[in-house]
Homo-oligomer: 384 residues x 2
Amino acid sequence: MDRRSGLPVVGMVGAGQLARMTHQAAIGLGQSLRILAADADESAALVGADVVLGDHTSYADLQRFAEGCDVLTWDHEHVAREHIRRLAAEGRTTLPGADALCFAQDKLRMRERVESLGIAVPQWAAVSTAEEVGSFADKHGWPVVLKVITGGYDGRGVWVVPDLAAAEPALRRGIPLLAEEHVAMTRELAAVVARSPYGQVAVWPVVETVQRDGICVEVLAPAPGLEEATALAAQRLAIRLATELDVVGVLAVELFATGDGVLVNELAMRPHNSAHWTIEGSRTSQFEQHLRAVLDYPLGDTRMTAPAVAMANVLGGREDGPGIDERLHHLMARWPGAKVHLYGKQVRPGRKIGHVTVLGVDADEVRATASAAAAHLAGTRAAP
Amino acid sequence: MDRRSGLPVVGMVGAGQLARMTHQAAIGLGQSLRILAADADESAALVGADVVLGDHTSYADLQRFAEGCDVLTWDHEHVAREHIRRLAAEGRTTLPGADALCFAQDKLRMRERVESLGIAVPQWAAVSTAEEVGSFADKHGWPVVLKVITGGYDGRGVWVVPDLAAAEPALRRGIPLLAEEHVAMTRELAAVVARSPYGQVAVWPVVETVQRDGICVEVLAPAPGLEEATALAAQRLAIRLATELDVVGVLAVELFATGDGVLVNELAMRPHNSAHWTIEGSRTSQFEQHLRAVLDYPLGDTRMTAPAVAMANVLGGREDGPGIDERLHHLMARWPGAKVHLYGKQVRPGRKIGHVTVLGVDADEVRATASAAAAHLAGTRAAP
């Protein structure tokens, strides 16, 4: 409890853009997010007032960071569960807890657990050898999707292999992998929910996530043309997973849409790229909601603020040509309603340096605008 | 220019809630507001990453603060114009500049200037003695409104005096005062506009500001039942003032509505309480817009995000009873759509410690909700 404000102190481990945007939301709630950063130049450390430098892999650093925090929460999935368990054993409130995070950190355990709940996932097997990959392909066909079991993100640690020879580089790493059928999907969706320790849940409309090279490039809210029954089923599935896995905070459920319904692809237990649109597009943003949830405050209204919202990631992009300031200037002149979020990151090809959100009434129009604005900011498209 | 981000650095002198909310908006633009604070416990200093401690009345402190800032702007009206002129003479960009700020700092000069533009203000005169007050009252009747010429705010430095005897305490201060007719107004309005150095202007819908004891308690957007012609005239007036006075940034024009049209009451050249509703209620908040303006970026879309928006100030309030954390908890349970903004200030009777904004379709309903939620947070009304 902060004696001055009379409000509890939330500490977030990790200082990426999620912590940055969580701090932005925390300000409204009378808070100042405490942030554990590896480096003073990290995205959230550049804007936060209460930054502790330390290493999230060091238990001593986590312990020092936890001093004076009423709740600990996470900007990423990379904090070791044994550390989180030890913090909890020492009386710290860790939300989501290690038993829940397990299913966001370990793709094998997640699939076992989700299947045990009768929820569909793509066909999968743990594989370590070419023989095992071959026998998986015999059953489920080529291509096979190989994934690292822990630590992959944004397309890293994922290989779509058309034959056994192509699987070699992934297998050569000598670590167990997850083999998954290559799902004949129609598109990808995400159902994002928040849950409080009290057990309250609040879910946003189901969105479509558009991927390119394994990286999310656009999010369309609500998912255009989605049948109401499928949307409702996906929302219920997310609520059920949050409840069964005892998640506290935001849970993003990435889904494959197929002719037969949805399959669970991945889980994230933190604010997630698929809900960045909620900052302007929903009465309660995922960042505010995550804070409300971990503080065990009642959750906020998740209604949309416009009929159609599109978010496009700024994947920077060109380092030559006009600088970011000039690009931003032109973007604002061309699209006065576009909402820009820059993460304070230096431009590097393919790096997510920000996002743009556009609100409106026509799904195609907001998508085209968000996409053009983001590409413009990335310098990957000429000014219109 | 920040070498890392490639973006210009904005420095704001003053660390109140306006700087706090400006920092919140700055984060989205890839910025981190540089803040000059008198004390590390001030509202904005609690949440900003780039806080310089210093005294805004000291030129040396201002000069030191200005180092590395591309633009200097103001959280309040209390920076001496001679300091601002000297900073400008040394090559600093000061926005708004001293020549504009003059009309926000000095109530006499403002009235002279506004009248010279043919824009109506209440009848006024400079007074120093009881005789002068008496002769003003002979012309314009009692009560007379006395105001300090510089430095008043939130009802401080304003006296509504029914007779000469009541004027004594104000006159005893021995400083020149402004005497003003007590306008028979129907209500108070505000027209808020932003202007960039390039000369672009963008105006928000005209709002009604509801005052109690000289303090703004509620803001209703748009002003309920305002005739379109009056709204348009007020917006044009604000644009004309911003242009004629060469304001850069946000200009709030406080207006008295009378049977005959509007009279200019006060000017503020910074984000203003009458536009806090824009954070959620407009596509572009006044805080983002102020930054865009002082950065000479193109201005953002000022359309509303809902048909009716109400903002109520949290005037704290009771120090006994449930603490702020418990009040917040209950508020969220009762009004899941209410947007809370707490300024990190300690509760003191009558002190503005935050505000609540409610969006909806019915003006009466959003007003009642915002007002009830704010009173609940202040502890001045029992939980519903």
